[in-house]
């Protein structure tokens, strides 16, 4: 079973997408802030990290930067899932090796689920 770490502080998003992923058969671990997310990324060694940017305690881009610095998580695929659409953040995230940058508001729940599934399948 593929393991997904979902770092998101918005309870509604965490619940809806989290449940959606579980119903597709994934093992989902959630974190509500950047520090917890970074810690879990090392502990659970997920197959994929879904990362929000505006997070309590540690900004999403910092989480990604620190993940890339650590040998254990340097190659873990990361999907950025945020409502920030600023080109600066998009560029920074992609420079740090994010696999995809998704703006939540532009997709339905089902569309995001499909994109995540595709991303995991492409790793095979």
């Amino acid at each position: 079973m593929k393991k997904i770490l979902f770092i998101e502080d918005d309870i509604a998003i965490q619940k809806t997408l989290g449940e959606g992923l579980k119903s597709k058969g994934y093992d989902v671990v959630t974190a509500g802030d950047g520090e917890e997310g970074l810690k879990l990324s090392k502990e659970v060694t997920p197959d994929l990290v879904i990362l929000d940017l505006i997070l309590p305690k540690l900004h999403g881009l910092k989480v990604l930067e620190k993940m890339r610095e650590d040998e254990l998580t340097a190659d873990t695929p990361v999907i950025i899932l945020t409502n920030l659409e600023n080109i600066v953040e998009v560029e920074q995230a992609l420079e740090l090796g994010a696999t995809t940058y998704l703006v939540k508001a532009n997709y339905s729940l089902e569309e995001v689920l499909i994109k995540i599934e595709n991303s995991l399948e492409s790793q095979l």
Partner: protein
Amino acid sequence: MSLFKACKKKYNVPLWQCPQFLFFIMGVIIAASTVFFYVLGRRYLIEPELLALIVLLIATVLLVIAFVVTRSFEGLAETNKVKDEFINIVSHQLRSPLTSLRWASQFLSKHKENNLNPETCIEYFDLIKENSIRMEKLIDDLLIITRLNDKKVDRKKSKFSLSDLANEVVKEYEAYAGKSNVKIKIEQESVPNVYSNEYLIRIVLRNLIDNAISYSPKNSEVKINFKKKGHKLGLTITDYGVGIPQDSKKRIFEKFFRAKNVIHKKIHGTGLGLYICKLIMNTLKEKIWFTSKEGESTTFGFSLTIN
């Protein structure tokens, strides 16, 4: 390279539109033309130094003018950047509850045939309710800011009782305070009427009381007191909650600013409440202030002219 980076980071404009870069290019052109005219003058004139000096003087004047122009351009670029940032934050703040609403309702409609248990349904309906309230509050805040900035708010003053108004607002928030077992204690001594704008002061009170409850720990108190000083009546609201960190104090009335400790504790807020309070008190030409010690207490206060 550092100039290029600074231009991108500071103004988010291409190099050819960057004030510092343009100023640098202007300086290079002026220096080169001074040398050029000196060489030219030396060949064809008796006193080339005089010509070079005149060119240098004119160039200096031009450089000063250019400096002034670039500074004003810098100001414009800065304003533009602030505006972009504002739009970016507003769109993010509006999109977040909207996405939550959309995804939660999509989840419910997708699973309606799967006989979701009532508890799960209630949980999702609560999420929808919470996010609708969040969005409504944000839109209300943005509307009042726009109307205040555009001076489209009725700023007429009249006589009213600040004590009655505070009691009314406290009643509105009793249920919210009750949820966290926070007791609001309001001083009930008689105080003189004030001369101000009741509608706007109600907004200030709502924001300050809402904050005081939100940042209070369970089973604590929020105290509201009045103090007459000369021809002014002051009102203070004290909570014994998270407090404001020293490094956040300067920025507490800024638009969309939220202190780190409240973000860490995941206390929801638009970051506009105190900005609105300050904007209203500036509009009414009255004062608002605060004192706070992180982890202990916070007191916000304002004063109004006694009728």
